[in-house]
């Protein structure tokens, strides 16, 4: 059968954002895949060189819009490492609460897009409706729905709003009941399992060599979670389980993300209970020192790292951003080869693409 290049163009309901996957097809099975990115390249690293340290925070919010809190927090930890600042205790706890809420909202957004791709519109609407619960909580905390601009260098922008703890506890109870319902909805449906089990298998040594991190790596059996292995902020006194799965197919990636949502609920509950009082921010000096800073954070999509070089002025000399999705997309051909064209939806959906951080 003649081999044919199929072009899943930039404008496509399957892709979450703007990237183009050219797939070489022999009949139905995929022979080769070439992802094309760069449709959303905004030159963020060049922009950051022209802005002062605090002006860069809104830019890093718009890196990956699905989990903007984790990205601006990553930037703040990098600059704190550069300036060698000690963040007050209360700010570390507030940051953990905000990050975990963002993780749940990001995983729910992924679940909605994934169910929508597989044709299950019930999954799409229910998860979108329940994501609103956390978006409202984050809106109460930070004032914005999606790009929060909440972390600051040396702490957080402002303290928790009144009776924030009561709303969070109520939301967590609601969420746990909903998560149970999703598991019955998704795993109960035979067709969903038919489309997921045994599709897009990624062996653990391939995943490590290709640099895939986050839920996709843990789904292949490598239990490596930055929050547990190199705890930052207030994660060392939270006890939670790292969600892993062994066989690395689409179902495993779905399963790992669902477990992570359960764990995040637990973490938020502990963080709210152990929340110390006191200062929530340290005023950072305007000019950064000469030197380099390196930050590493567990983003809902993988391991996000930043490397900042300070030259003594109030602007970063160079800011390098490592996006987990940039590496996962580069690994797409090795996962896709050998599966059917119809599986591209499930495999690519399972890797939770967020093109904003990919193209920077």
């Amino acid at each position: 059968m003649a081999e044919m290049w199929i072009n899943m163009g930039p404008q496509h309901p399957m892709t979450h954002g703007l990237w183009n996957l050219r797939v070489k097809v022999d009949g139905e099975t995929i022979v080769d895949a070439v992802p094309e990115v760069g449709y959303l390249h905004r030159g963020i690293e060049k922009l950051c060189e022209g802005k002062t340290y605090t002006q860069v925070i809104p830019i890093t919010d718009r890196l990956c819009y699905g989990s903007s809190m984790t990205w601006s927090h990553l930037y703040c930890t990098t600059v704190e490492d550069l300036m060698d600042l000690e963040v007050p205790e209360r700010a570390r706890y507030i940051r953990v609460v905000a990050i975990e809420m963002q993780r749940i909202a990001s995983h729910l957004m992924w679940l909605a897009a994934y169910a929508g791709d597989l044709g299950m519109s019930v999954g799409f609407t229910y998860t979108m409706r329940d994501r609103e619960v956390f978006v409202d909580l984050l809106q109460a905390l930070t004032g914005a729905r999606l790009t929060y601009n909440y972390p600051r260098i040396g702490g957080v922008a402002h303290d928790l709003p009144p009776n924030f703890e009561r709303d969070t506890m109520r939301a967590l109870k609601y969420m746990e009941m909903r998560l149970q319902e999703y598991e019955d909805l998704f795993e109960g449906s035979k067709i969903f399992m038919m489309r997921n089990v045994g599709i897009g298998i990624l062996r653990s040594d391939d995943a490590v060599n290709l640099g895939i991190t986050g839920p996709s790596l843990r789904a292949s059996g490598v239990s490596y979670d930055l929050r547990k292995d190199r705890p930052y902020e207030a994660y060392e006194d939270m006890d939670f389980k790292v969600a892993t799965h062994k066989d690395g197919d689409c179902y495993a990636r779905y399963r790992v993300r669902m477990d992570e949502m359960w764990e995040s609920c637990k973490i938020i509950r502990q963080a709210i209970q152990k929340m110390p009082s006191g200062k929530w921010r340290v005023v950072a000096p305007r000019n950064g020192p000469v030197g380099t800073g390196f930050g590493r954070v567990e983003d809902p999509r993988g391991e996000g790292t930043m490397y900042v070089v300070g030259d003594g002025s109030d602007k970063p000399y160079r800011l390098k951003i490592r996006s987990p999705i940039f590496v996962t997309v580069s690994a797409a051909p090795t996962i896709l080869v050998g599966y059917k064209v119809a599986d591209v939806v499930a495999i690519m959906g399972g890797l939770d693409m967020c093109i904003g951080e990919n193209d920077r």
């Binding site: 169910a115 597989l118 519109s121 229910y126 449906s189």
Partner: protein, 375 residues
Amino acid sequence: MNLYEFCYGILHWLVDLVNNLWYWLGDTLPWYFGDFFTAVGDFAASSGHLQFMTLLLESLVIIIVALINVLNFLWIFRKLSGRILDFYGPYYVGYRIGGWLQNLADGMKLFIKEIIVPAKADKTGFVLAPVIFVGSSLLILATIPLSENFGLSTSRDGGGVPAPALFALAMFAIAPFTILLAGWSSNNKYTLIGGMRSAAQMMSYEIPLILCVASVFLLAGSFDFVDIVAAQHDIWFAIPLFIGFIVFLVCLIAEVEIIPFDLPEAEAELVEGWTTEYGGMRFGLFYMTTAVRSYAGGALATALFLGGWQGPAIIPDEIWFLIKAYIVYVVFMWLTWSVPRVRIDQMLKLGWRRLLPLAMLNLLIAAALKTMGWF
């Protein structure tokens, strides 16, 4: 007093009204003009002309009733999806009647959009595909009677259509060819794939469908809907042939391309399947035809398996038929909105490996029942 006599009566009265004008003209004008008008009057009153006109009027009435039901189906499609997916569905369009005018607005908007024919497309095929698609689907509706005396095929003494059930299934089977034609003629690699997939899906689900219907014919002993429904007088065919009924519904879902078997339309690499290049009213025709075909499917299911218009007499027969057709459609929609899409090879495997043997088994059961003499 069936539909044919009703239309015949109306037309007869109308023709008499007009004729006395012709005859008056025929008498007053001089001979060479007058004869022409009297000849027109005689022709109008002749039985052949009357019969032809009543058939036209009758099919017009049936098509109007069908299209109103189709609009209702489109409304159910949007409103029920709202209920299942937890939002309102169309609400502000046609405010007090619950958004029923939304489909009208969609249709008319598509009606006035610019007609685009892609430059490299094969013009005749591109234009012809929607016409045949809509035509064949509406023909199915013509043959399915709503009750003894409300149907095109039942009303004439000699019986209009020789074997209406077979004719309806034949019309159902025309659609794959038009979809192939549409996919090929819009000259776009993805629509071609979509067209081929859709044709493969429909063909592979046509055979179990026909086998189940064959088992119904076997029990009922005739191809005419009226006899089939009469045969279901004491027990509906859905009960003895339950396997056949389930296989029939699944094949109908594949035939009408609803979500679990929605392959050609919303696949990974096909943006919109074989309707990608169609815009304006041509897309409107395709969109409406899916509703027409689901109405026809529902009507077939009720006529063949659920004892068409049998029901306690308090409700007129036609209403019984429509109630059952709507219930079948609601079950379709309920399934559609809660199940994800099947992959193409899984679907074909399901078709050939699961449904075909079940349909065979159902045929055996029907044959056994027949030889036992219970039917």
